[in-house]
Amino acid sequence: MFEWVHGLPILSLIAYVPLVGAAILLLLDGGRPALLRRFATGVALFDFFLSVPLWFAFDREGPLFQFVEDVPWIEAIGVRYQFGVDGIALLLVLLTTLLGVLAFLSSWSAIREREKEYYAFMLLLQTGMLGVFMAMDFFLFYVFWEVMLVPMYFLIGIWGGPRKLYAAIKFFLYTLAGSVLMLLGILALYFFNGEGLLGWQGLGNPASFSVLQFHEIASRIPPDLQFWIFLAFFVGFAIKVPMFPFHTWLPDAHVEAPTAGSVILAGVLLKMGTYGFVRFSLPILPEATVRLLPWMAGLAIIGILYGGLVAMAQKDMKKLVAYSSVSHLGFVMLGVFALNPAGLKGGVLQMINHGLSTGALFLLVGIVYERRHTRMIADYGGISKVMPVFATIFLIITLSSIGLPALNGFIGEFTILVGAFNRVWWWAVLAGLGIVLGAAYMLWMYQRVFFGPITHAENRELADLGRRELAYLLPLVLLCFWIGLYPRPFFAVLEKPVAYVAARVDPAFAVDVPADVASPDAGAEGEALQ
């Protein structure tokens, strides 16, 4: 039914529809905001519908990367325009297009000035993010990775809160500083693959930035070179994730960003860091990964506990959610650095889960903020009486975020803990403490905001959710339940890429994938890939 997508450069279409939309948007009449809103949301929706067939047409048993497009771009230096998705990227692409639509819908009432520029930047941002997940050429990847910073900078810097100028430039500077170091790492790989660099004899291959080519030569990169490249990549990705101690830009950016910006930031942007680790650091630099494993896991666990503790102390709901992201992404990193299929699978799934539930949390906070213009927990209390539907959805999302069984967070965190336990048992124990912390700060916030007497008179008049608000929250709630109750389709998509990455970084998994976390044929595939 969806075979037709194979005949199209479908990934490019998905990536550039928002760009074209932004260009058209600029031609529209700026004096008619309703038209701008509808048009931009329409473009995002169209893009989402364009991306859905990928889910059905993606062959779970097929090659690792699918829908591949590959044409020379800058031939003189071996850069190719290479798009393709594996199971991991597929999920992230779908998450991006979905959250895009919801973020646009949520902006209708939140953004009241300079709408044309706002929607143009949002669309541009979509293109950048989609490109990051689709690129199979490191150069192309880097281009999208950086291009995306510009619209995000403006979204925070123009439509943000009172300290927007500071937050926006901090976000940009931090990320840029990380990315340029990553760029040096990319260059080092590029030269090692070709003519050689510094003191290292190159492999003499034709110039290429292809990620698969780098995967190919992984085992031939000398350990000390791997170490330096790993550090360069680490700075770039860890700032993006953000891992402790590189997280300080995140609370500022989140608190000051407009709701939609926060949703995209938490839902998609942060995933680029973890995606980078899975796609590049692990398979290209396996030896360095293993060598630095204790450090990585240590930082991840510190992130989990530190994020949780700081979240507990927050008075501002948005800031609380921001710090909870630090904690949740610590989980993702822990799963990834468990370096076994269970951990990786859980880590990737938790990226999606975090996108859904934290995205939803930011949307929810945005909804009350629009009504009351405050995000302080102390300004609320007892509002479950006046906003019952809102309170219910908020509760579901809260439970999903703290990992209650039957909801998505549980599946992700549990799988991560299995993976971490298999690697070093006490990692899982420490991370388990993080779950307890998570339950504490989320439920405590919920209690203070929704239960008890209504202490502020203004809160008596709060209107419950409107239809538009329901429309952008329900899909997230449904997905939380879907992943929580029946995660199989998601794991099925991840099976192959995860086995591939695990086998690359730890040859033990090439032949012997533990039976509890893999389908029967995963072992054979791992072998074939090796």
């Binding site: 230096i77 940009f172 500083a177 260059l187 030269f191 050689g196 660099l197």
Partner: protein, 488 residues
């Protein structure tokens, strides 16, 4: 080659220089006759002269491509030279076009202004193909003397006078140093021809000569003055702020670029045997220049001054290309300067548009709310600033990528780290301008009149080229690779 006067046929390779120089002199003469030509006519004549020179260049390029050394070894016509000549003509043409409004509004004679631009251009053309230290020095002086006058063109403005005087005094000192260096090099190697120099320096024992060492260090210092590298940069901020902005653009894009070409020509072709030593010195200079230029730019309150320091910082990045004059560095340098030309002219053209009086458009406040008042200008300036920072999809990114790549490849990893961190830092001061344009309300809401269509045209061309160099750099990379200086 018989007798002191070469035949006309032998002068053919110099056709572009001769054309531009003669037409420049002609314009100078016409300019002082009676009331002189109108500013419009003068500009058209100047553009015409550049056009004629370009035509000559095209003819010459068709006939001489094999790196012929002509006129008793004084000139060389290789692809490297042809590339720079094309770049110089482009810069001169841009300079003429962005000057139109300023000359029209000024109370000064248009003829001599354009004539000086053309003469500076002639000097630069000669610099591109000089193959003899003395010829190189003379062409450098032709460019420099014309620039001194141009920098002081606002005769009635004290800042312009100050700029010209500073530029002249420091420039004269640096020329002296350069000349002294040349004489010492001549004394120890016994030749001024670059190819013979290379051979003589490679001879056993030559490299150990202390005289030669002092010579090339002085030579290098003189050239580093021209490219505005620390510690020879002190003139730059004052001259950039004081000079008329079109002249500043010409200095920042044209004069700087060709000086880098000269640096590459002399040191890579003439002294490859000493590469280990001069590269070490350049590495230190490059690091200090990147750090100092960027840190100083952070604190500036005047846009032209900020751009001056940014241009110093960029000199530091560009030096990386010379350090890594292996396969990547050789063309990364050319590519970067090509993209830098468009970016620099674009930025300064925006400043010129905003200049109401002779010195407006200089403070950050002048850019407040520009996104509302002139969305097109603001968008173009955003593109230029992204390119200066080195963010894709702009030519600045591709250029920086390969400069840093070259450094990494050639073993200057620590310099590349300094470079990328500094260029990340530069975002802060470039984006201060963006903050004013996009995130602050205008103090006066009057739309900026896009009066001079030619200026807006230059800005548009530069913005488009900056993006093209970033998105489809393929043909340009191939072009610069072909034009790269052959590395011995």
């Amino acid at each position: 080659m018989n007798g002191p006067f070469p035949g006309l046929a032998e002068l053919a390779p110099l056709a572009p220089e001769i054309a531009l120089g003669l037409l420049g002199c002609l314009l100078l003469v016409v300019g002082v006759l009676g009331r002189g030509p109108s500013h419009r006519l003068a500009a058209s004549l100047a553009l015409g002269a550049v056009g004629v020179a370009a035509l000559c260049l095209a003819l010459v390029a068709g006939r001489f491509t094999g790196g012929q050394v002509v006129l008793a070894g004084s000139f060389v016509l290789d692809r490297f030279a042809l590339f720079w000549k094309a770049l110089v003509l482009l810069a001169t043409a841009f300079a003429v076009v962005v000057s139109v409004r300023f000359v029209a509004e000024g109370r000064y004679r248009p003829g001599e202004y354009y004539a000086l631009l053309l003469l500076a251009g002639t000097g630069m053309l000669l610099m591109a193909s000089g193959h003899n230290l003395l010829v190189l020095w003379i062409s450098l002086e032709l460019m420099a003397l014309s620039s001194y006058v141009l920098a002081g063109y606002f005769r009635e403005e004290r800042r312009s006078q100050e700029a010209a005087l500073k530029y002249f005094v420091l420039g004269a000192v640096s020329s002296g140093i350069l000349l002294y260096g040349i004489s010492l090099v001549y004394g120890s190697l016994g030749t001024l021809r670059l190819d013979e120099m290379a051979a003589a320096a490679a001879a056993p024992g030559a490299a150990a000569s202390r005289l030669l060492a002092i010579g090339w260090i002085l030579l290098l210092s003189g050239l580093l003055f021209k490219v505005a590298a620390v510690p020879f940069h002190v003139w730059t901020p004052d001259v950039y702020t004081g000079a008329p902005t079109p002249v500043t653009a010409f200095l920042a894009a044209g004069s700087k670029a060709i000086s880098f070409a000269l640096l590459a020509r002399i040191f890579v072709q003439g002294l490859p045997a000493l590469a280990g030593e001069w590269q070490l010195l350049l590495a230190v200079v490059s690091a200090v220049t990147m750090v100092w230029g960027n840190l100083a730019a952070l604190t500036q309150r005047n846009v032209k001054r900020m751009l001056a320091y940014s241009s110093i910082a960029h000199a530091g990045y560009i030096l990386l290309g010379l350090l890594a004059i292996n396969r990547v560095g050789s063309w990364a340098l050319l590519f970067y300067l090509l993209s830098y030309l468009f970016v620099t002219f674009g930025v300064f053209a925006v400043v010129i548009v905003l200049e109401r009086r002779e010195y407006a458009g200089e403070t950050y406040e002048d850019y407040a709310g520009l996104a509302r008042r002139a969305p097109f200008l603001a968008a173009c300036l955003l593109v230029f600033l992204l390119a200066l920072t080195g963010i894709p999809p702009t030519g600045g990114f591709v250029g920086k990528l390969y400069l840093f790549g070259a450094a990494v490849q050639a073993g200057w990893g620590w310099l590349a780290v300094v470079g990328v961190l500094m260029s990340a830092l530069s975002l802060y001061y470039y984006f201060r301008l963006v903050v004013w344009m996009y995130q602050r309300e205008a103090t006066d809401a009057t739309p900026v009149p896009l009066a001079a269509r030619s200026l807006v045209g230059v800005i548009a061309v530069c913005a488009v080229m900056t993006l093209v160099l970033g998105i489809l750099p393929g043909p340009f990379v191939a072009l610069t690779q072909a034009a790269a200086l052959p590395v011995p």
